[in-house]
Subunit: 313 residues, 2 copies
């Protein structure tokens, strides 16, 4: 144990939007709201203990807890017997499609790494955190973890070996609605066809190429035109009541574009101006109120920092 | 007829590499060599007359000639009876995979537009030139025409409606080998499967996103890592003897990456340094000499101008 390091660390771990419409499994973006709050401290028992201060009744057995699985992967690479006490306050609702499990796993390993004097690289942390995603959805995906840890917009160019690219992006206002219905990531994966038309794939890679160019060139119109998904959205949006009307009305109101956040049910819209983001929120509230579905909305911005230290003792 | 405009224009129209490995049907790049030379002048007959000064025995009937089809599309949007005499010297061999037909159609309409005092936009010219591609391969694709007209690296984000994005790119040396075998664009299209695995499509859009980011960030390593094609190359490369050995030896020699140019049979390699580009050329010569297949090689650079005026009278 490094005596120069602190004994207790508190961090915030941001919500993330995976896929970004045309970048299924490869693109992701961090948001400034909502965030999970996590506190980690050393213990002398050499084991991992997890507690929750939220009301989500998540498992606290480290192997069944997503943050636990991520931390156990980190602990397996530590020499000696280091124990941690982890306390989690989830504000990102599990199953929202806003990277709740990624925030837990990424936040936990990032906080532990701060306690350990940053002995692991960001790549190591992504690798550890992927074990949490495996517990959450059965798949070791990294498209939420990476933006959660690094901030901004990130590209997973390849997963074996892991190749991460951070993409510059212009200022963006993001409006999110989380209709309080359940869409499991595993169900959302199962309804996808295993084969796609080559001509649809070509449209999709034209769009992702346009979206990446739009971010890097700070070209809002190009970002907007590229936010089109001809493969995943037509299938998955069926699981989300109100999706089509929300999307079309938000575009009419001036949103650049948007779609399903991760595997849903949350819907996100990117906007150039804050006023448009607020108009978009009004539309989202209006649609889900009239559908009689409970919902929560956020108007936030692109988070460029990723997991952030709140306090260190 | 605009009396302030010249009466005779000579232009060069560059060879182009379509697809750029992972950007099938959407990416393209212009080269400084080889180029076709075209001369256009008004005639008083109100008709289009085409002649060739090269030895390729291409049709001179305007409707069957790719440059002719492109020019006829342009002429259909002119008021009055304007006639042109077009003389073509092809240096880009038809069927090489280096955008020979695109150079004919793009060069012809760009030259005519210069004669006409630039009354048409670049978008109009792309639209006209696509009629030439239709004659050449049965498909109105734009992935060679666009870089030929605009220069540099170009993205066709969408074809209906046409959405073109010019991508900045760092200096690049390009080595090309054209093994003198015949691969028809239409055959090369027919052997492709109409459906692809979703997991392969995901790899492909990770790579095209990486390649676009690599170009815009001037990140040579990222460009190299992203030049991977898991969908088209495994099928089409079978039509090109020596492909695998050329590719693996060029990568060993330090090429960033490369693959089939357009639908082949030419193979291109991108390089950061001219010396590597020369080493790569030696390898290409060596492979095709030992296979007993005639070939032609080029060591050239990224062309940033597109069709260029040589002289105006």
């Amino acid at each position: 144990m490094n005596t120069n390091s602190p004994n207790r660390i508190q961090v915030s771990a941001p919500a993330t939007v995976a896929n970004l419409v045309c970048g299924f499994d490869v693109l992701g973006m961090a948001l400034n709201e909502p965030t999970d709050i996590m506190e980690i401290a050393f213990n002398d028992l050499g084991i991992l203990r997890i507690s929750h201060t939220d009301g989500y009744d998540l498992p606290t057995d480290p192997e069944k807890n997503v943050a636990g699985a991520a931390l156990l992967a980190l602990m397996a690479e530590l020499e000696g017997k280091t124990g941690f006490d982890l306390s989690i306050t989830k504000n990102i609702k599990p199953g929202s499609g806003l990277g709740s499990s990624a925030a837990s796993s990424a936040g936990a390993v990032a906080a532990a790494n701060m306690l350990l004097g940053n002995r692991f690289s960001k790549y190591d942390l992504i690798r550890f955190a992927m074990n949490g995603e495996k517990v959450a959805s059965g798949v070791k995906h990294a498209d939420n973890i990476t933006p959660c840890l690094l901030g901004g917009v990130t590209l997973i160019r390849a997963i074996h070996p892991l190749d991460i690219v951070q993409l510059d992006a212009p200022p963006l206002f993001v409006t999110v609605v989380h209709p309080q219905i359940e869409v499991r990531t595993s169900d959302a994966r199962q309804i996808l066809r295993k084969e796609v038309q080559l001509k649809s794939a070509i449209k999709q890679w034209g769009n992702i190429a346009g979206l990446v160019a739009g971010f890097l060139k700070h070209d809002y119109d190009l970002i907007g035109r590229s936010l089109e998904d001809v493969i995943i959205e037509p299938v998955r949006s069926i699981l989300i009541p109100g999706f089509n009307i929300v999307k079309s009305r938000c575009l009419e109101a001036g949103a650049l574009g948007g779609g399903i956040s991760g595997s849903g049910p949350s819907i996100f819209m990117l906007n150039k101006e804050e006023s448009t983001a607020r108009d978009v929120e009004t539309i989202m509230k209006d649609v889900y109120s009239s559908l009689g579905i409970d919902f929560k909305t956020y108007v936030t911005t692109l988070n460029r920092e990723g997991v952030q230290l709140i306090k260190s003792e």
